[in-house]
């Protein structure tokens, strides 16, 4: 796999294309606003995909707008980075997983008790905010970007990796101002859902090429271990299988 993402070139290409879109948009707006907006949108989507370094990402997102997709992808790429231990969450398509989850039933709180009053509780009482996952991610990603601009002068996705890590660590410690959303709460959800996207069955759009499973050695949906379980201490070496592989 492409464990060594050549990230700086991607970033340069991306920035160039963004610049082209931004400069073209006002001109187009004077002639054919609708068509140009669509073109710009398509071009931007292609850029996001390029920045992600994958060719098979959707050019249409179910939940994210393009800014959100770009920020989310940059975030997951730092939470589980590509490094000496192989590809990370970006390469595994975790941003696609996030997009689908947030657009779907879970994102909209299908198992979330949402009756008021919403009162501050004790730590033992657990999550007591009104945000559904979708609402939390929409606000949280925007606030992360806002903090990046305020503190570092550009959007999260355009910071250096070191700057991104510093900002994420500040969010984790609850030190960033996200308005009504505690940044530590958002960060906790980000990590949880990123791990879900990295390790869930690839049918959900993440864990592409079983990158997550290969990292740790999880075999997926192998049919039976009845003949293996008493072979003590023998490392399992067969390739992992997903639900789609055997369905």
């Amino acid at each position: 796999m492409d464990g060594d993402l050549r990230r700086p070139p991607y970033r340069r290409i991306f920035l160039k294309q963004i610049a082209a879109v931004v400069s073209a948009a006002p001109l187009a707006a004077t002639t054919a606003p609708v068509a140009s907006a669509q073109n710009a949108s398509t071009a931007q989507a292609a850029d996001v995909n390029a920045s992600i370094g994958q060719s098979s990402l959707p050019t249409a997102w179910l939940f994210f707008n393009l800014d959100e997709a770009r920020t989310a992808d940059a975030v997951v790429a730092r939470l589980i980075p590509a490094d000496d231990n192989g590809p990370g969450a970006r390469e595994a398509g975790v941003v696609v997983f996030l997009d689908r989850q947030l657009a779907g039933a879970w994102g909209h709180g299908d198992h979330f008790y949402r009756h008021s009053p919403f009162l501050p509780g004790t730590p033992q009482q657990g999550y007591q905010l009104a945000f559904t996952p979708a609402e939390m991610f929409r606000l949280g990603l925007a606030k992360l970007d806002e903090n990046a601009r305020k503190l570092r002068g550009s959007g999260f996705a355009d910071l250096t990796e070191q700057q991104q890590d510093e900002l994420l660590a500040q969010a984790q410690e609850g030190k960033l101002d996200f308005g009504t959303l505690p940044s530590a709460t958002f960060f906790g959800s980000l990590v949880d859902v990123t791990m879900e996207g990295f390790f869930s069955d690839p049918i959900y759009g993440g864990n592409r090429d079983k990158i997550g499973w290969k990292l740790v050695g999880f075999p997926g949906v192998h049919a039976s271990y009845a003949n293996d379980i008493e072979r003590h201490g023998v490392k399992w070496s067969r390739a992992p299988a997903s639900i789609a592989d055997v369905a």
Binding site: Q124, M195, Y204, V216, G217, F218, G233
Partner: protein
């Protein structure tokens, strides 16, 4: 005006283990029976078939088989001077939903409670003196003994195809079994589970330290087996998708696998799914139930008249139905008076994280909900409590439940939660780590109870059940003791580089999974002043209403509940057939 259904003899609320067992028994005895199940009908085939069922995101993370918190949850506070707030999503336990209830997504760990636990107050008092119970503890004896229940344990063993090596056959200790096991009249119907690597290492170390490890009994069949209902079970294949999942294999016992197909053949047995019961309807004198009101799947309020009502919902949901129906005087923690809602308990669980050298391959994905090597040396009163000054005990074990990596990705303490350092540790330890789990008893306290929440409601506008609870110091001491013992065993295991014990601490919290064994609120007892039901699960105040399951537990054992719940269900069904039908509406003597 609610829609009226034709009357039946017996209505059972909930299509899980107890509703299925009692419903089938009474239907076979000629009673016209209807089981009302709020969830959907889901069957081993086609609903739980591979590969689709092997989906950690869907079943574990997205609560596919769990009660939906969006429509019904619990509220929680530690103390009466706090405001209870809703559990907006599950973390502390997984109450069941849909046909079979939690009997579908359980692990299959299969135990009988110890004889001493049925007489906890008198047993400990006799051996250690009454002062071993601190004043806050409201633990009380059961009104029946292990010996009385034994034939019913035996019967449930043969229903679920229990697997294990007998340790005590009619009082004679058997080699290879658990020497602390309560006596049993027959061997397990099936041989023990296979032995994975990590449990074997645990057993080796525990034995070296002088303990008595054995293979945990389970309700996962270990060979092709035709059960007591003539239904076929198959061998467990150790696929590692067990707890939180339905079993594709017909190996894990569930109501669907073990009893419902037999019940549905009876012309007197009806199963009605999508029927969410709101309350038991009482006569004006409030001493007799007329039936139950439910909302059907289309939302239509419906009255089902019945001569006898059984509450067979998930654990403490039965307590909520009692409170919503006005059955039993609600417990008041200020005065200690009242019974409905009294004696809530959960589990005192803890663990020891073990981190092995890289030549020890654990293969955590080769497992099953109940495949474990365990030891009972520190259960119940199997050891001298005198020097310790606490009541209760717990089992210590290594169980290989699941390697599914969203939830199972252990890293040593101090590892960052993200980034390259996390990733390196996740890769290093995935196949070289497993916890020792410690499952301990939990005692009820005077200030801990269940009641109707004054603020929050369910999808039907009815008050949620409110849990008020914090651990007694007794259980915190117990957990410290057991976790220390577990850590010593971990350190004695081959290949272990690091063993990190994490005892349970106060305050009780609902933000982490402890077990799905939530109990009480409808305590079984001999005295109507301290119990809701008599020894047959019959309500003192409304004798044609019976309660089943873990709501009856006056306190929690260290042992998993289902074996005891199943035995109690058969015990109750027998009493109905033997006595109640001849004197309906009267308390069974």
């Amino acid at each position: 005006m609610a829609k009226q259904m034709p009357p039946v003899d017996v209505v059972l609320v909930g299509g899980g283990w107890t509703g299925s067992v009692i419903g089938k028994e009474l239907a076979a005895a000629g009673q016209r029976v209807v089981v009302l199940e709020r969830g959907q009908p889901r069957w081993t085939s086609p609903d739980f078939q591979a590969p689709g069922v092997r989906d950690e995101l869907k079943f574990t993370r997205r609560n596919e088989l769990h009660q939906n918190t969006a429509s019904e949850t619990y509220t929680f506070r530690n103390r009466t001077d706090e405001v209870a707030l809703p559990m907006r999503r599950w973390q502390f336990a997984y109450p069941g939903n849909h046909l079979g209830g939690a009997g579908v997504h359980w692990s299959g760990a299969y135990y009988r409670w110890d004889p001493a636990e049925f007489k906890i107050r008198s047993h400990y008092t006799q051996r250690y003196g009454a002062r071993i119970f601190t004043d806050d503890i409201t633990a009380q004896d059961w009104p029946l003994t292990y010996d009385e229940l034994e034939p019913y344990f035996d019967r449930f063993d043969r229903l679920v195809g229990a697997s294990g090596q007998a340790g005590n056959l009619k009082g004679v200790i058997q080699p290879g079994g658990n020497p602390f096991e309560p006596w049993r009249s027959n061997p397990y119907p099936n041989p023990p589970m296979k032995l994975p690597h990590a449990p074997a290492l645990f057993g080796e170390a525990a034995e070296k330290l002088g303990y008595h490890p054995y293979i945990q009994p389970s309700a996962l069949s270990t060979r092709p087996y035709v059960n007591s209902e003539g239904l076929q079970m198959n061998s467990c294949v150790y696929c590692g998708f067990c707890s939180n999942f339905g079993c594709e294999q017909f190996a894990k016992a569930s109501p669907q696998v073990c009893i419902l197909p037999a019940a549905l053949k009876l012309p007197t047995f009806e199963l009605r799914t999508g029927a969410h019961v709101l309350r038991v309807e009482l006569d004006k004198d409030r001493k007799t139930a007329r039936g139950v009101t439910y909302v059907d799947a289309a939302g239509v309020e419906t009255f089902q008249p019945a001569e006898v009502v059984f509450l067979c919902t998930f654990a403490i949901n039965n307590t909520r139905l009692l409170l919503l129906s006005g059955i039993g005087t609600p417990y008041d923690p200020a005065t200690g008076k009242g019974v409905a809602g009294r004696n809530y308990t959960h589990q005192t669980s803890s663990g020891v994280g073990l981190f092995f050298d890289e030549s020890t391959h654990i293969n955590p994905f080769m497992g099953a909900g109940a495949v474990a090597v365990t030891m009972d040396d520190f259960c119940t009163d199997n050891f001298d409590h005198g020097p310790h000054g606490f009541v209760g005990g717990g089992y210590i074990q290594i169980q290989v439940v699941s390697g599914a990596p969203i939830n199972n990705r252990p890293t040593p303490p101090g590892t960052p939660a993200w980034g390259s350092a996390w990733k390196k540790a996740a890769k290093r330890y995935y196949n070289h780590s497993i916890p020792i789990t410690i499952t301990a008893s939990n005692l009820p306290v005077r200030g801990g109870y269940l009641s109707l929440d004054p603020t929050y409601t369910d999808a039907f506008g009815l008050p949620l059940l409110r849990i008020t609870y914090d651990f007694p110091d007794n259980d915190i001491k117990l957990s410290a003791f057991l976790t220390q013992k577990g850590t010593e065993i971990g350190r004695a295991m081959r290949g272990v580089q690091l063993a990190v014990g994490a005892p349970r601490t106060k305050p009780y919290s609902v933000t982490g999974y402890q077990s799905s064994h939530i109990n009480g609120g409808a305590a079984i007892g001999a005295d109507p002043a301290t119990s809701v039901v008599n020894r047959f699960g019959q309500c003192w105040d409304v004798p044609n209403v019976f309660v089943t399951g873990a709501a009856l537990f006056p306190q929690n054992s260290c042992y998993n509940p289902t074996g005891t719940i199943g035995a109690l269900a058969y015990w109750t069904a027998d009493a109905i057939k033997r006595d109640y039908v001849h004197a309906p509406g009267r308390l069974i003597a």
